[in-house]
Symmetry: C2
Subunit: 348 residues, 2 copies
């Protein structure tokens, strides 16, 4: 799916490390007022005035976090930036800058790395963050991407994972589980392709799921939306590992329990259809499938009226005393303990 064998290929050795950095960073524009000095020195310089700086970082490894057989490099670059921007959004902060480090083996020609950077630059543009630095080096095997995102916020606006209180409502943005099933569809197509490379897959019935997997978006809009509705979450996290795992993070750090209602978990109609086709339980997918990059947060019960009419938000449960534990209340009204299966990179 990825490779056009006729495209021009420039070997990275011919450029050298400095040449590659220069080549990749020459068109990077700076738009943030807080960026005083960007790429080209030992470090970037940022000015946050009276605002606070928020910093997050991620490391992505080929074969562990992504498979280039179905993940086009431009999409990978876009997604890598989105995942980091999402962490800043989950602090109720505004993303402002990113640094990008990549290590590449010699199997990648310059054009491949350019494509990766195209996706990164596109995401930086769309989310209005400056690319202010990074590192470019070689790897012995595969592609490695490390991104650090920086954001700004007023101290009073920042929302941590540890502020949830008993009786708070648990709210999720958008829908969950689609990115995981998008991956399942792509994995199946990869296997079909390996058996018959001439097979032309019809991916139309899976378009939403595949887009959620290949080109997810961070919910940068939520901060503004909540401000408009005059709601400040008591705790917040983004859904990168899976709903279940993120709920457990909020509960543990806030020292509360939680009842999550199966019937309330928002799912896209396409996800419902595809879970039937794959004969997979949709709730398992919603609980354990990661990479949706939606936001999960808690609000005070009295704020319910302010958000209930907004289609971006779904109340999926409420917080309890810590000793009551963390449970899924099924449609059949049975109580099942939540497990942090999540996306466990080290056991895979």
């Amino acid at each position: 799916m990825l490779e056009d064998k006729n495209q021009p290929k420039t070997q990275l050795e011919n450029l050298g490390e400095f040449g590659l950095i220069e080549h990749l960073t020459k068109n990077i524009e700076i738009t943030q007022e807080s960026t005083i000095k960007s790429i080209g020195d030992d470090a970037a310089v940022l000015d946050f005035g009276t605002k606070k700086a928020v910093v997050s970082t991620d490391l992505l490894v080929e074969g562990v976090h992504f498979d280039l057989a179905y993940m086009p490099l431009k999409h990978l670059g876009y997604k890598a930036v989105v995942a980091n921007v999402s962490d800043i959004c989950a602090m109720n902060a505004t993303p402002t800058q990113i640094t990008i480090s990549i290590a590449v083996s010699n199997r990648f020609p310059l054009e491949a790395i350019e494509e990766l950077y195209e996706g990164m630059k596109l995401a930086a543009k769309i989310y209005n963050v400056d690319i202010i630095g990074g590192d470019t080096t070689s790897s012995q095997k595969g592609l490695i991407i490390s991104i650090t995102a920086i954001g700004e916020a007023n101290l009073d606006d920042i929302v941590y994972r540890n502020g949830a209180q008993q009786n708070d409502l648990l709210v999720v943005t958008g829908d969950v589980g689609a990115a995981y099933m998008g991956l399942q569809v792509l994995e199946r197509e990869k296997q079909v392709f390996q058996v018959n490379p001439n097979n032309q897959p019809d991916l139309e019935p899976y378009s939403y799921l595949i887009e959620r997997q290949l080109k997810p978006e961070a919910r940068k809009d939520i901060k503004e939306l909540l401000e408009k509705l005059e709601v400040k979450p008591t705790s917040m996290i983004d859904i990168s590992d899976g709903l279940s795992s993120e709920i457990i993070h909020l509960c543990k750090q806030s020292n509360v329990g939680c009842n999550l209602f199966e019937e309330k978990i928002p799912a896209d109609p396409q996800l419902i259809n595809v879970c039937e086709e794959f004969n997979i339980d949709i709730t398992t997918v919603a609980l354990n499938g990661g990479e949706d990059y939606e936001l999960l947060f808690t609000i005070k019960m009295e704020d319910f009226d302010k958000i209930k009419a907004n289609p971006n938000f779904t109340v999926i449960g409420h917080m309890t005393e810590a000793k009551e534990g963390m449970h899924l209340i099924t449609r059949a009204n049975t109580k099942i303990a939540l497990k942090a299966r999540g996306w466990n990179a080290l056991s895979e």
Copy 2:
């Protein structure tokens, strides 16, 4: 040299990703006033008040940047932090926080990663920086380390690479080339060890060189020292790739040329001896050997009197018009163009 086969080994799979992060970060103390929120949320939160934030990042790959056959993990961790702290020092800023991301293959037991972290924590303590976040994941092959360092400075104090002027003096701290020859000594010992594992090497005559390679230090002291001497450099960079390469960076970004005097380049007596033993030209080593983490900077000529008596500084050349180019003036008084051989990761 590294492994004690009898030491306890805990498989990383048993801990899981979250367990490993929790285990590695549980004793990390926070001492910086500017650290509002550290590890444990989607992002860390920093407060720089009226100071500016300075950000730098590095990606280190096993087999490319380090060889665990002679680099103990604790030293590697220490050095990885030092390399990043050094970049902040090279901005004439004070390092305050770091994030640490690592990817490890299953061949590393928990104890190995703990050792790596021990070195990182030690460096964080010595350089007084807070470890505020990071990412821990698996790799398909080897160890990958990504560190982002953050520092603070008054805007007026920050020194860029692009401020050097014609007639400015070129100054280097400490001595150069030793880290590279330390690596050569270790490479030789590795080969001896492979032929005869029972051979006990006598590394005493190389102790300084090996220490410069295995446990380099960042020149965090220089900012304060220059302040005391009332000297503000016009441009500055740290020596990570090699003197020649760093001089070229300063010249290109400042749009000046340079005359570097071979006889002025500071070398440790041990380096002189070992270069003779290895039959390697010491100037080649000083120019192209990297990882010394000394600072290279330019000052106005009228500041010469302020620094000339200080043993930390050596004037090694002066800046010229750009059109005169960048040259080494040899002991025999011949002019040789400087080349950015440096440490070219992509051609190796």
